[in-house]
Amino acid sequence: MISLSRIKRVFTVGDEEVNALRDVDLDIDTGEYVSIMGPSGSGKSTLLNMIGLLDRPDSGTYLLEGEDMTRLDDSQQAALRRHKIGFIFQFFHLVPRMSAAENIELPMMLAGMAVAERKKRVEEAVEAFGLTDRARHRPDQLSGGQRQRVAIARATIMQPHILLADEPTGNLDRVSGNEVIDILESLNRQQITLIMVTHDPELGRRARRQIHMVDGRIESDRCPSINEKGPAEQPRE
């Protein structure tokens, strides 16, 4: 479903050129559970943004469900982000002046969905994520775990095919972190492709497919539970 070949991305920081991605080749099938690990600056977030159509490669091709993404213009890419991709961030990125329900509603608003349908879906999502008594609260009145649940509800409200999570537990305590991971994994069991960037090796090992990146390259790409016996190799960090 996701097919990257020879993807290059160079950033210019001051006078220096930084190669965030060097000729990355990667194929991910529908319903996979992939973790991307590696030291900071290794290009894992850039790879995630690339898959999520937030960033464009300098060269290489990206096919999403057989369609060439590099040829699409801004609004076509936005439409795909809206309908096929859900983002979850370390810092939740909830709009602070809006209630939980309004935050969940946002993607549907951008999609121009009818108000009645929006209301219905928000109600369902609020209940499904156990936020019923918190729906009218603003983010600063919610705990970290609740905030991330709101963010997940928002990311999945358009029923995307792919869920991209960038350090989803990085800002949470262990208990709420586990709760969030459980939610994400249960979504993955419903055939949503889950791609997660993480620093946490324990978390990374839970994924069926584990990718290690170093210096803009994919250093290893393994499915330990299928190919190997015993615990996966320790990540470098």
Partner: protein
């Protein structure tokens, strides 16, 4: 994405920064209030002045002796100019379409009764003056239609002259001395007030021929033509011109139509209104700069939010319209507040300073609101373009 959603989002972010939004709205509303107020005053003055001019009726054409190249009468009557005579007036009255004529001559002199005396304006006028100039007679009647060559020595007093000479006594039938000659009072005019500095109440009216001999003048100062409503002033002016030319052998007179006068006056006053409105627009401009400033700050503060919106599926155009919409809502609210403020102040002015005429045409209010929204849209463009152009990845990372 619907306009309703844009407005809702805008309102929620404006409510989030109440103080800031309030001050920005205040800036715009002061500008709009200034525009509304100043144009109201300008419009009021225009209406007031035009009303002053048209109080004598609008279907009037004035003919003065002497040729002038610009509008108005040449001050000196030169020797080779033939005088405008009573005979001219009678000929003019026979032009088809002319309903009536008034011959005018004016001078100053003392009007005396018993031991009281007042120096005042003496108007020699035809018997139709009251009708043509639309000045009503309060008591008695106006000058009778005598044979214009041998008019009886009757006088009609302006209200102020009557008050000065007679106080509360009845002047009708009394004999007064006008510049030394004896006249019988036949009427008193209604108070008409001042017209551009000329006090019509401080005047007396006597028959034209008598005034001519009184002031030892050969020529009338003016002949006014009243023409039919449904006719063009130009047509009548042309006919009068042709007639007088054939009588005088040359164009030694000036014809001024009321329409021309009003047109020139109207355009001058219109420019005045615009200039005054322009002054208000300057403060509106300052308000607009305030909107640009506040929107620029908002875009900077909400950079991560912009990144988030991009990530959940907003394209550049939506981000653009989100911020332009917010600026327009901000300015639109300011416009409404300013409209209210300006109208209230104009109304208060009209109530407490009646001498200062104000008039707020409702279409100006609509224009002012559209102007405010337009300024908001314009002010929003720059910050919104910046917001739309942000790189989503960098925007998300900004904190």
């Amino acid at each position: 994405m619907f306009i309703r959603d844009i407005v809702r989002l805008s309102l929620s972010s404006l409510m989030d920064q109440r103080m800031r939004s309030f001050l920005t709205i205040l800036g715009i509303s002061v500008g709009i209030a200034a525009v509304v107020l100043l144009t109201s005053i300008g419009e009021g003055i225009q209406k007031f002045t035009l009303a002053e001019f048209t109080q004598f009726g609008t279907n009037l054409i004035g003919i003065n002796p002497g040729r002038s190249t610009t509008l108005g009468t040449s001050g000196a009557i030169i020797n080779n100019v033939r005088p405008l005579s009573i005979a001219d007036e009678e000929a003019l009255r026979r032009i088809p379409g002319v309903l009536d004529t008034v011959s005018v001559i004016q001078g100053n002199g003392p009007v005396e009764f018993a031991k009281r005396s007042r120096r005042t304006t003496i108007l020699g006028a035809g018997p139709s003056a009251s009708k043509v100039w639309q000045i009503k007679v309060a008591k008695g009647r106006f000058l009778p239609s005598d044979d214009s060559r041998a008019a009886r020595s009757f006088v009609v007093l302006g209200s102020k002259v009557k008050n000065e000479l007679f106080r509360d006594a009845n002047p009708l039938g009394q004999i007064v001395r006008v510049a030394g000659e004896r006249y019988r009072v036949v009427g008193v005019m209604e108070s008409k007030g001042q017209m551009l500095g000329f006090d019509l109440d401080d005047a007396v009216y006597i028959p034209t021929v008598r005034a001519m001999s009184l002031f030892n003048q050969q020529s009338l100062m003016e002949i006014d033509l009243l023409y039919q409503n449904d006719l063009q002033s130009k047509t009548i002016a042309e006919r009068a011109k042709k007639l007088l030319k054939s009588r005088h052998g040359a164009e030694d007179f000036t014809i001024t139509t009321q329409e021309e006068m009003l047109e020139i006056l109207g355009s001058v006053l219109g420019i005045l209104t615009m200039a005054v409105g322009g002054l208000g627009a300057i403060s509106l401009l300052v308000g607009g700069v305030g909107v640009v400033t506040i929107m620029t700050i908002a875009v900077n503060e909400r950079t991560p939010e912009i990144g988030l919106l991009r990530a959940i599926g907003a394209d550049r155009r939506q981000i653009l319209w989100l911020f332009i919409g917010e600026a327009a809502v901000l300015a639109g609210i300011g416009g409404l507040a300013g409209l209210l403020l300006g109208t209230v102040i104009a109304w208060l002015l009209g109530t407490f300073v009646p001498a200062l005429p104000t008039h707020t045409p409702w279409i100006y209010a609509v224009y002012a609101e559209l102007l405010a929204i337009g300024i908001g849209l314009l002010a929003g463009v720059l910050p919104a373009r910046h917001a739309a152009g942000l790189n989503p990845v960098e925007a998300l990372r900004a904190e």
